[in-house]
Assembly symmetry: C2
Homo-oligomer: 347 residues x 2
């Protein structure tokens, strides 16, 4: 078995995806990545390793006129030759690409609307896309350059089990998985080589050569330069995106449980259910809201307030700089300014 | 007041640093960054905004022979002219730079040993270094290219209140702060301009021009290219490093409280003190160790185990895929394989 096929099967197993009796929609643009997906599915079906129903779905964005039509025709013909069911759609019909705002983003929304509705009509387990680690690395760099926190840098997920495209078309939570079975291991080179070895000529989107597009400049200029520093830069960046995703997931859960720090008081019972780190985080946010900043506040102050919360022995008050105090009463802690006796002064 | 001086004073206030009666050691190499630090301290001292004792400290790494000696002489002369106390040290004397391993790293250790001991002998509040947001952005990129998790990408801290250099010289926890008062706002351009406006010629380290060094290539080649994508790339990367630092601090606290997930059981009492996110994280790690992987495990399984931990009503067992079970007994949860009745088979 070709290494590409073996890796794919290993990933399929690792993700716990069904080996039979399920339907999948494979998103096929006609480029090397998605054709390698179609080819590997074909091979595993022939070898009876995967006995699912696989449907090739092509969304014709219709942004490049005749070239778009040729891509669609090419994918349809290859799907039929390989004996895949084929579903094609032209954006101008049912799925309009909005002309307002970011064209790339709008095209993506229309494409996923089409893929989701196709998956629904086939009662599919999931949608398969052919994103590679190169896509992951490029996305990471684009987000980094634009400026992102940890969630923006987390990158795409290999398996998004309740996928939902941001679209007014879908109100209910989807039960469809979005699966990227190449994302964690396949390089773009691998998909191109796999197509060549199968003697399948892939289509090149002219937009992939347009240096006016940031993503193309990242791919053609920035990444080759970063390879001078680290020949494994693609893998390194993709791994970083994955690491940050794990951390981001933990932090998201943490944020969900936080009490509202905009109030002038916090309930002791809410604080007592939190981990130490979460308490510290809540206190910092709460003090920042109530004092406008964290100036002159030190770790020892936060620690004293944390003790005040849990212990009966720590008294009823913590003093902060600038005559500010934290008072414990009636099952809450309050932020207060101490009333200072003004001495008569010439100033 | 010059904007550079005003920004510095604002940062000093924001960090809650003392305005009088404290001693500080300022690390001065002779480059634009550290000279701008010396100049701003001089101006604030003259304006009586800061009435502290400031000592200029220069560590002569002695790696560039005559050029090193000239730098040291230059810093000494300027310090005296500006009426700062001066402490100079040559690496060959008390603070040897190890020749084993990474020279840059070893030079750093020797330098901070010198700075720490100088600070101790002056009973100083802290050490001031002149790192700029450019240094932060460069460090971030170097760590990113090399491959780092969230803590490696968090960058330098503006204030490290119990600074300790990794050195066998220091056994006890230091009470000295390492303070980088330019780090959050000053660009290298700003320090160079501030020196020029004060008619002070700064020294250029020949190593800053050596394209054989990764840091120099990042500064001279990579960052200018990234500026084509985002003219504010330096600020963007520095801000990202800061964001990741906050998140990293939270996660570090979280990790400190985890039970050992290598055991075949977990104590309920340990789990009950954790936040929900921490419990999920512990369970994932524990299952991964006991099953070798997380294959076929879904969120619903983790949720069921979490319920088992907290509730008396959730029974004594959770079933996982592949005849694996989690059993609650004797104040612990255990991971077990269910015993399967084998039917007589020809295989």
């Amino acid at each position: 078995m070709h290494k590409f096929v073996r890796n794919f099967l290993t990933e399929w197993r690792k993700l716990g995806l069904p080996f039979e009796n399920a339907s999948f929609i494979a998103a096929i643009s006609g480029g090397a990545d998605s054709l390698s997906l179609l080819l590997v599915l074909n091979e595993l079906r022939e070898r009876k390793k995967l006995q699912n129903r696989f449907v090739a779905a092509h969304f014709n964005h219709n942004l490049r006129g005749e070239a778009s039509r040729k891509d669609a025709e090419f994918v349809r013909a290859l799907s039929e030759k390989l004996d895949f069911e084929f579903v094609g759609e032209i954006s101008d019909d049912q799925y309009q690409i909005s002309k307002k705002g970011n064209l790339e983003q709008n095209a993506r929304v229309a494409r996923y609307e089409f893929l989701t509705e196709t998956a629904q009509s086939y009662k599919a387990f999931g949608i398969l896309t052919a994103h590679t680690i190169n896509d992951q690395a490029e996305t990471f760099l684009l987000n980094l350059i634009r400026g992102s926190g940890i969630s923006g840098l987390s990158g795409m997920k290999v398996l998004n089990s309740k996928f939902q495209v941001s679209s007014s078309k879908f109100k209910e939570k989807s039960q469809i998985s979005l699966i990227r079975p190449l994302l964690s291991w396949a390089r773009r080179d691998d998909t191109e080589n796999f197509c060549r070895e199968n003697e399948i000529e892939f289509r090149n989107d002219a937009m992939n050569e347009d240096l006016g597009l940031k993503r193309v400049r990242v791919r053609k200029i920035l990444l080759p330069m970063l390879e001078d520093f680290n020949p494994k830069i693609i893998e390194t960046l993709a791994k970083t995106a994955n690491l940050l995703q794990t951390e981001s997931d933990i932090l998201m859960e943490l944020k969900d449980q936080k009490p509202n720090t905009k109030d002038p008081y916090l309930f002791l019972k809410d604080l007592k259910t939190l981990s130490k780190s979460a308490v510290y985080q809540v206190l910092r946010n709460w003090l920042k809201t109530n004092r406008d900043n964290l100036r002159q506040l030190e770790l020892k102050h936060i620690e004293a307030i944390a003790s005040l919360i849990v212990s009966r022995k720590s008294g009823k008050m913590v003093e902060l700089p600038n005559d500010e105090i934290i008072v414990k009463k009636e099952g809450k802690i309050f932020f207060q300014k101490r009333k200072v006796e003004k001495s008569g002064s010439a100033n």
